[in-house]
């Protein structure tokens, strides 16, 4: 008879083999089409911004881990995803200090002080971005950012042009095919609409983001923009330019879907996505900002715990079995 030491643990004894590392790795893979396109479009400075953003985000988390004497948690790649998506939202010409200040705010204030992964009430990327946009608005003027570049398409940020020049002026400047194929000025990872959509569909199929959020988000953009445009076509642009420019698609697939700050029940997810999109169009059409994606999603992050209370009744609870 043998006397081995056996492993004793609790049921279930199976696991589907998924992990945070795999989830975050897949999110990073999904960003690649848009990121690679951005690098091709904007050249070496874009590589610099993405690399600095990704590495500094991980470094900030590592420093926080060491300072707060916690287990080193960068191995789950959550900070890497924050850094990568953050880099995608910056113009390629951002100065180095802007990037590391942004990731500091994103990782430290957006995530770590709330208790790390899973505990952040807001999307950390958006916290960092909102901080930068309110502090150094000048760097997010995409027309100024790319003033030294030569493009073979309209070198105007579509949403800013729309805001300043009106619908009739921009109508012919931005054909939809150009917008989808990334022939527009914007942040590194937000211009290539097709790449973002491919990445998003990949994540949906792999089950790493919940399809309800991006779908309702896109529906929300289309419905709200269409409503505005039908009410007054001279003042408000149609859904196409809203959908394929600015941060809309990166918002739909990579920002609004951030796990910790978004709902998990079906109806709340649909409400969340739709309302976030509606808020974006409201901000763009009526508000002061050219692109309201960041603040709109942050606002919906705020109400997420409230709407996520709408959930199906659990088995054996409630009046039908009294």
């Amino acid at each position: 008879m043998t006397n081995n030491k056996l492993t004793v643990s609790h049921a279930p004894f199976w696991h589907d083999g998924d992990s945070l590392f795999k989830m975050n790795l897949n999110i990073m893979i999904a960003t690649l089409p848009a990121v690679i396109f951005g690098i091709i479009q904007f050249g070496a400075p874009a590589v610099g911004v993405i690399a600095l953003s990704l590495s500094s985000a991980m470094l900030w988390e590592l420093i926080l881990n060491v300072v707060s004497k916690q287990k080193i948690s960068i191995g789950d790649l959550d900070a890497a995803v924050i850094g990568l998506v953050f880099g995608m939202m910056l113009p390629a010409t951002s100065p180095w200090w802007l990037v590391i200040t942004g990731t500091l705010v994103a990782v430290v204030i957006g995530k770590m002080i709330f208790g790390g992964i899973g505990a952040n009430p807001f999307n950390p990327v958006l916290i960092g971005m909102a901080f930068l946009m309110l502090s150094w608005k000048i760097f997010f003027n995409f027309d100024a950012a790319y003033v030294n570049y030569e493009f073979n398409f309209t070198a105007l940020a579509p949403l800013a042009a729309l805001k300043s020049q009106g619908v009739s002026a921009v109508a012919d400047l931005f054909p939809i095919s150009d917008l989808i194929m990334g022939k527009q000025v914007g942040a590194i990872g937000s211009t290539f609409g097709l790449g973002l959509i491919v990445g998003g569909i990949y994540l949906i199929l792999r089950g790493y983001i919940r399809w309800e959020i991006p779908v309702s988000f896109i529906v929300g953009i289309i419905v709200t923009a269409l409503a505005f445009s039908m009410a007054n076509p001279d003042t408000y642009a149609g859904p196409a330019i809203h959908l394929f420019s600015g941060y809309t698609l990166i918002g739909a697939f990579f920002l609004a879907t951030e796990n910790s700050s978004s709902p998990v029940n079906r109806l709340p997810m649909l409400i969340y996505g739709f309302c976030a999109a509606a808020m974006i169009i409201l901000m763009r059409n009526i508000g002061a900002y050219a692109d309201g994606t960041i603040l709109a999603i942050l606002l919906l992050n705020l109400v997420n715990p409230l709407i996520d209370k709408i959930r199906p009744k659990a088995l054996g609870k409630g009046a039908n079995n009294a």
Partner: protein, 428 residues
């Protein structure tokens, strides 16, 4: 182990195994020299015990600890009691284990003691509680619980196991016979049987109503059978027995039929053994046989840090010893190699929502676990449906953060139960 598929737009589907069409006879494991029996009652050193080490016992003899004891076990062999010790389970509940030294040679099989049986359930409860399959006679005979439906489970509750299905195929006539006896004993009019939808049972019976259950886990769990086939929603925190439904395994019905025919107890338990490569073996072993005897019979080698799982992969428990005895309700034993044992982690919930999608009882697991981690058991039960959980283990199976969710829930329920017991005690 079933892994996540590449595309997982929908929730994963875990399917029950179907018994092979023409199953082989189970491998008979010889009666070992030492058998271990488990008695639910803990040892109380202040009282005079009825049995002590060195006592000789006869095959079929009823063994109790004390005069007032209601729990008993039946000795499967003639021999002597060589040890009486305390057994501690996962939650720190104590019971007693008796080791019986088999005095016969392994080849001769003496007849078991015969009992004087009457045609009522109390008489059956007197002797047959520990029959293979563990019939719930204690509940059926109790005056406090009113049972009006008995469900015979031919569909195995957990994944991988095919023990009940095998018995259904092989002993269908015995099941019908046993059902007749059950009906006579209990006078319960409604008798149902659960059968996997893809399994063709050898025949019908006008005595029993057949429920064809889905092949998808967890459709064979009691709460789901109540919901899908009896249109009964199990209220949170209640057991099927509270609702008047009792579950009895197919094996228990078969052994009850045999026991009434011979007027003596049977001890041969049929088990499905799943080896490290997923190979299935079927064994017939005497209750009390240590598991390592069975592993030897199939030349399954156990290494350090391997895991022996008793019950299925979703709801079973892991034992810490090869000497764990075969018990009346043990249908499946799984041996997992240490290399495939999935790890758990203490990462907090990231709110990915996979548990919400898969939970068959709509429990908000993502919020619930936050309360359970903070030991807020009452709040967890009141607001976040702790007691609605039907304990299928699917949430922990899919958890991206690898949180041992099912363990948290079981612990939560256990602590809640203790809290409530304390409150009632204080009130009185």
């Amino acid at each position: 182990m079933i892994k996540r598929s590449f595309f997982t737009l929908t929730k994963p589907r875990l399917l029950y195994d179907l018994v092979e069409p023409d199953p082989k006879e189970p491998e008979s494991i010889p009666i070992p020299s030492d058998l271990t029996l488990v008695l639910d009652e803990p040892i109380d050193s202040t009282r005079q015990a009825l049995i002590k080490e060195g006592d000789s016992v006869e095959k079929g003899e009823k063994l109790r600890l004390y005069n007032q004891s209601t729990d008993y076990t039946i000795s499967p062999v003639t021999g002597t009691i060589s040890a009486i010790d305390t057994y501690l389970d996962d939650f720190g509940n104590t019971s007693t284990c008796l080791v019986i030294k088999n005095s016969q040679s392994q080849t001769t099989d003496t007849n078991s003691m015969t009992y004087d049986l009457k045609d009522d359930i109390a008489s059956a409860d007197e002797y047959f509680r520990t029959l293979p399959g563990a019939p719930p006679l204690k509940i059926l005979a109790s005056n406090t619980v009113k049972i009006n439906t008995i469900i015979i489970t031919c569909a195995d509750m957990d994944l991988l196991s095919t023990t009940h299905q095998y018995i259904t195929l092989k002993f269908w006539d015995k099941i019908k016979e046993g059902a007749k006896i059950l009906k006579k004993l209990t006078r319960i009019p409604k008798l149902c049987i659960t059968v996997p939808e893809n399994l063709n049972i050898p025949g019908e019976s006008d005595l029993i109503q057949v429920f064809k259950t889905s092949m998808e886990y967890p459709s064979n769990l009691p709460a789901m059978i109540l919901k899908n086939h009896l249109s009964m929603i199990l209220p949170a925190g209640k057991t099927p027995e509270d609702m008047g439904v009792s579950f009895i395994s197919a094996e228990a019905v078969v052994s009850l039929a045999t026991a009434y025919k011979t007027k003596s107890a049977g001890f041969e338990k049929i088990l499905t053994i799943i080896g490290k490569q997923g190979t299935k073996y079927r064994a017939k072993a005497t209750i009390g046989t240590p598991l390592h005897k069975i592993f030897n019979a199939f030349s399954i080698h156990i290494n350090d840090q391997d895991r022996i799982v008793i019950g299925g992969p979703m709801k079973g428990f892991a034992t810490y010893t090869h000497n764990h005895p075969v018990q009346p309700d043990m249908d499946t034993v799984i041996i997992q190699d240490r290399d495939i044992i999935p790890e758990v982690s203490d990462t907090p919930c990231v709110n990915c929502g996979k548990c919400i999608r898969i939970c068959p009882a709509n429990v908000p697991v993502n919020i619930l676990v936050r309360y359970l981690e903070a030991d807020q058991y009452e709040e967890a039960a009141d607001k976040y449906d702790l007691e609605s959980c039907i304990e299928c283990g699917l949430c922990a199976y899919v958890c991206t953060a690898k949180i041992p969710l099912y363990q948290y829930i079981k612990l939560g329920k256990y602590e809640l139960f203790k809290l409530r017991a304390l409150e009632t005690a204080n009130d009185e």
